[in-house]
Amino acid sequence: MSVKIALAGNPNSGKTTLFNALTGSSQYVGNWPGVTVEKKDGILEGTKDVVIQDLPGIYSLSPYSLEEKVSRKFLVEERPDAILNIVDGTNIERNLYLSTQLAELGIPMVLAVNMMDVVKKNGDKIDFARIGKALGCEVVGISALKKEGGLEAARKALSLAETGRKGEVPHVFTGSVEHALAHIEESIQGKVPKDSIRWYAIKIFERDRDIIKNLDIGVGLMKHLEEHIRDCEKELDDDAESIITGQRYEFIQSLMSKALAKSEARKNKVSLSDRIDRIVTNRILAIPVFILSLCAMWFLAVSDNGPGTVLTDWANDGLLGTDGWHVPFTTHESSADGPYKNMDWEAAQEAYAPHAKNIEVWEGAYVEAFNGANKGKEGFEPIENVEGKLDERIAASVKAEASLEDEETGETVVDDDGKERRWTCDYAAYKASKAFPEPDPSDFGVWVPGIGALIATGLEKLGVGETVASLVNDGAWGGVATVLGFVPVIFVVFLFLAFLEDCGYMARVAFIMDRIFRRFGLSGKSFIPMIVGKGCGVPAVMAARAIENRRDQRMTIILATFIPCGAKTVIIAMFAAVFFREMWYVAPLMDVIGIAIIVLGGIALKKTRMFAGDAAPFVMELPAYHMPTLSGVWRHTWNRVKGYMLKAGLVIFPACVFLWFIMHFDWSFNVLADEEIEKSILHDLGSAIAWLFAPLGFGTWQDAAATVSAEIAKEQATATLGLVASGMDGASTAAQIQSLFGSMSKFPLLAAFSFMLFNLFVPPCMVAIAVTFREMGSKAWGWFAVGFQLFVGYVLALSVYQLGMLFSGGVFGVWTVVAIAADIFCIWAVTRKSKA
């Protein structure tokens, strides 16, 4: 027979730390009230079958919050063999409030007073024996953080569980209440489990509907009991629930006046936590400090030279890609003789760049010329690269010319006189460049080749065919690399958040921001997910878990991903470069639109029946600041990163393989070359759904295909668009994409803008959608979230395109009417009177 011990306690009481210490499992310690939403259990260390059941952090066993309901359902229905109740010794009065309720359940209980190290340091004294006697349980002092006493407390609970020895149920109420309770107890005997009769009696007294409903009390009896309750209420001039709550606290207060000796010296001392708070939530300084901390996160995660970006570049190009990377601190200037002597790696690459460009440009031109010259000859197969096919006569006449694209922006370089700058290279220059040695990275430090490159060489050595190589490298490994490539940013964001949460600052953020967010139906706690959403929607949805009110949490999940995330920024950057070059405001405009959707969407959702009703009370503990432990922050961060990688791996990896497959094969599973994409399955799928996007101005298979791949990972849209547009006229990718949009709409700019809006504001990528489904709690809610996001994205793109055409070109049609109708609906949804 296994033994079950329930671990119960307030949020911030150190429960999670103790749980980790007892079970050795890696869990996370936070400072935000209500972070332990899910049920966790583990085996007590040193035993085989003693299960520690971790209950959510709760303040009470009322019937009003989900966590409390979950906890009491477990305690009453599954009746653990013992309860290990952890209380915060530095905040003992409020913590014992829950203990008085737990003690009434008639389950053997050990009370572990945590943070005794701090209590002792403060010079306070707690009389355990007196508390134990009053509550009818054993009391021990522990320090979960310092790993002192926790295991002993658990062993004590275990021995109580084995003997089944429970203490006297405490009597905390005054005469008239006890009188009524005694009456109730008498009349429900035999109808409820004997051990917890007291608990049931109190619940009946409180008129707790959840409990009464499940008991077999006749209407007549209930009426009789109701009389007793009413008499008591009349006598004490309060409602029954408040009487019970009030008297519990009075009981604790009088107990504490005897059992707690506060150090006189400390009474008037300002603690460090208070001093920090004076700055952090100061009327004038609070918001600057907050903005500063956000900027710090931004710098760390996504700024150009921040560690997040540096790590991402390293991961994408160096570690996972086809390049490679130098082991830090081993880099040095080359000492090898040759053109790169005494140069560092960067300078050497720069020195070689024109030669690389020469080779690339000239070889391209040569292949074209060679194929052109031999066209029509019997048995001639067009070549794809120069290798071994260098015909001197043709080569001598090849003079390559190409536009020059800026490395960073991808824009064509234009000189001051308005002409495109051209890059030219003739055969002689090519031969010179070809003879010029490429810099060898291992001359400049310890060089590690990229995994992508290793796989490519590995496959070559194995001699597998081109298709298999492409599947492994572009499909499978590309998928893995996409997932892993985001890990650095996510890691940095999570690390920062874990620190802020663990030190107690997050609760203050909610305190500062609440005023703004409640206006559109959210609470101050909704702010964090939206900030995180700027980096990535997946952690944003996960961060919403810290919002204890389920309704606020769901609304936050639905809205948080409207903030353009890091991957969506790639789409914005591309469209800004291709279409809106003069319009610097396009990128910030997208953030503004995202915020506007959140505000208006919040207002509209709040008015629906699903989200209507009384606002959840914003009654939140502001836990004392403390320095987070390294292991706590690390565990917290790592758990989330691990969660992301698993989820993303399971979703993105197969999706990338699938996408690769439909891009490279036709319906009879023939392999296609890159330029044969029009025969691909992707082309047909795109064509099949393109009509959906016609009213939005981009109803071509290319755009449909790009939109579909954007759902796999948002930045995929740009890659797919580049690939599918290659069939269009135009020298550069940018020109091809421009002509793609030009080919289908008389208003290519509007169509492009509409395409961008659609891809930014429809549901996020598949991973985020999968996480949304999980966090919303049910399929129905998941579909609601996705449906809402789809509606918003579609209507937004539709309105912009149709109304844009109407105003700039006077185009009016059925879809104009639809767009106007949809807009009127939206305005109504936002402005109508609330149902609540």
Partner: protein, 75 residues
């Protein structure tokens, strides 16, 4: 005087809690019961919510909830 109108730095004893249902229970569960002493510590930078000390710890609540808490001022 109701709790939302008390200036930061002042304290008193709760004389009554109005309201009903989940909100009232929640407020009381957190230790704001009749007879408890409370001190208002500060108001959030944007004017709401407020931060109070009750039963030895810090709690924040919105003014609309504090409105239901009647306090006898002591200093």
């Amino acid at each position: 005087m109701t709790l939302d109108k008390i200036q930061p730095g002042r304290s008193g004893r709760i004389s009554a809690i109005r309201g009903e249902g989940a909100v009232k229970r929640r407020i009381m569960d957190m230790g704001l019961t009749k007879g408890a002493s409370v001190a208002v510590r500060k108001v959030a930078p944007l004017g709401d919510p407020i931060e109070i000390t009750v039963r030895g710890y810090e709690l924040s609540l919105r003014k609309e909830e504090a409105l239901n808490i009647e306090v006898d001022i002591q200093n």
